[in-house]
Symmetry: C2
Subunit: 356 residues, 2 copies
């Protein structure tokens, strides 16, 4: 158990020891700790190890500054030049929201960036000021397309926030069936995965998490995760693949950037991941308060609708994480043992005090 | 087998016999025949029976004119006043594209409309002029939310078109696992459905298509279709539900319209379905041709990637339907027997010549 501010402070110090500049360390620490505060451990401070290995791998240039390479009153294209993901995204989202405030809508497409944390954090900023917000990103290659066997697409998440009275709707989902983290859990516990999560190197559905994690770790070209709807077309796998490809084209396509198949190929800093952000104002459609209240009434009716036997509650997207955050702000954040061990090892290495 | 123009002509005549005005009949015939030409029979001329029953049910006002109730340089809100879906959508999409041409982006939210046909047809119009196009709609209630058992959401399709050199990417998908039409096929053939398509009146997964179709036909409040990812959360059912809810909020939320749970409740014409259209120009992000060529190169690499054993081809979304259309424009459209019978019965009723 550790307090929000203490964890953020420690994370920031570790990032500064990695070589991050103060502002980049601050923004990166914020997005990592926000994820832990919401119970999204897969995007929390445990990612420090991944961030360090990206740095060592030569994929992150801590001195790079994001550059606007194209701009209109509604839009901008940003080249991140291989800099820090959250710094580049902060730059892009600030300008995207500025445009939406002034013109009604804003779009930002970004190339040569790095991991930007939990997509929903960027989308929800728009909702706080009465706008619909969207954030998408491609990732490292890991997922197969329908009828394919190469892991050429990323997990390509979709995040959309829609303002509503009291609390916004916040959808934040990888377009794969599950996050890679869930496959790792099955691997660690030697548990079979359900069919529909991943395929082997021949492109055939598998329940063997050791195999899938092994293939991923050796950087195998074949096999990988399945998209929402699973294998083939019977349960709609081609739809999940379509959503992932949509994300890929909005991110890599519009920015003239690198698509997932080639992200981080070789050592260059000009093959980083790509993002797409969009925001548009609710009052484009009339009175903001009336619309927010109408949306809230739809969500309330869904919450109150009848449940299947044994189910405790019907959730609206973003609710679970918001309630978790509310709790952790009072009670502190619980990290798993592996993450505590990781932080302890950084503390020892950098001569920092262990805060738990 | 019937030619495209002959089928369109006949459909238009039948609609005029229903009481449709010439322009509404023309636009409706076009969207129905376009769906058949692409092999999307579920949204083709077989829908004439559904359109007639909507008319008899008092849900469509053939004299209604769409009205702009709110407008900004980027956006408009349209009240369809219960008129003809394709007429209202034609009106909305024309104005949405006009705005995008002039300002870079356009958004149209629509309430009190009716069935607008295949969503992708509306989205792809933007792509033809170098814009990204989106079309969403809610529908009649038929699908359950994660952990729920009431069929309160619609099939809520998502259509997005992205221009690319030669041929656009066109994703056009119901957010349910499959279309209702596929469940009907299992019902007719007394075939078990896969688990993940639908639930019974207790909210439990079922393979019994007779049961599901029976429940739907008697207007049961409980049971219905599952969203992409199926039952519960193990295969991502909460993600499919989230996508459907996103569509619902963009359509019913932004237009202050009726959400799926209450569409066509009672006899009024002010509880029709809702749509949302958006378009934004590719050149917001730089040179249109460069971007279209980059997107085409991503699609080409995916097409050429390695296939799982036994698979003939990796498809890009929209490709199958476009090729089918190309064939049917030369060879004619093949309708199934039930649809031919339906058209024949209309011909007899209205004294029209049977064209096949």
């Amino acid at each position: 158990m550790i307090g929000y501010n203490a964890l953020k402070d420690l994370t920031k110090k570790i990032l500064i020891h990695f070589g991050y500049r103060t502002e980049a360390a601050e923004e990166t620490a914020r997005i990592l700790v926000e994820a832990d505060a919401r119970g999204v451990a897969s995007h929390g401070v445990a990612r420090l190890a991944f961030y360090e290995s990206n740095l060592k791998g030569g994929f992150v240039d801590l001195g790079a500054e994001p550059e606007i390479v194209h701009e209109t009153p509604l839009s901008l294209v940003i080249d991140g030049h291989g800099g820090v993901g959250p710094t580049i995204s902060r730059f892009a989202v600030d300008r995207c929201l500025e445009k939406a405030r002034a013109a009604g809508a804003g779009f930002a497409s970004v190339r040569n960036s790095n991991h930007f944390g939990m997509a929903g954090l960027w989308a929800e900023e728009a909702a706080a000021e009465g706008m619909i917000g969207m954030a998408f990103t491609n990732t490292l290659r890991c997922s197969i397309v329908t009828f394919g066997k190469e892991g050429i697409l990323g997990t390509n998440p979709i995040a959309v926030a829609i303002p509503a009275q009291k609390t916004p709707f916040l959808l934040d989902m990888a377009t794969t069936t599950v996050s890679y983290g869930k496959i790792e859990v099955c691997d660690r516990r030697s548990k079979a995965m359900p069919l529909g999560w991943a395929v082997d190197e021949f492109g055939r559905g598998t329940t063997d998490a050791h195999l899938v994690v092994g293939n991923f770790e050796k950087g195998a070209l074949y096999g990988g995760q399945l998209f929402l709807g699973g294998e083939g077309e019977a349960l709609g796998g081609h739809k999940g693949y379509g959503l992932a490809l949509l994300v890929e084209l909005l991110c890599a396509g519009l920015s003239l950037g690198t698509w997932s198949a080639h992200v981080c190929e070789g050592k260059g800093r000009e093959n980083g991941i790509t993002h797409f952000f969009a925001a548009f104002r609710l009052d484009l459609f009339g009175d903001r308060e009336k619309i927010e209240s109408h949306i809230a009434s739809i969500l309330e009716e869904i919450r109150a609708s009848e449940r299947v036997e044994g189910a405790e509650r019907i959730y609206i997207h973003g609710e679970k994480e918001r309630e978790r955050r509310h709790r952790t702000m009072k009670e502190g954040i619980t990290l798993d043992e592996a993450t505590e061990d990781l932080l302890e090892s950084y503390c020892r290495r950098f001569g920092l005090e262990v805060p738990f």
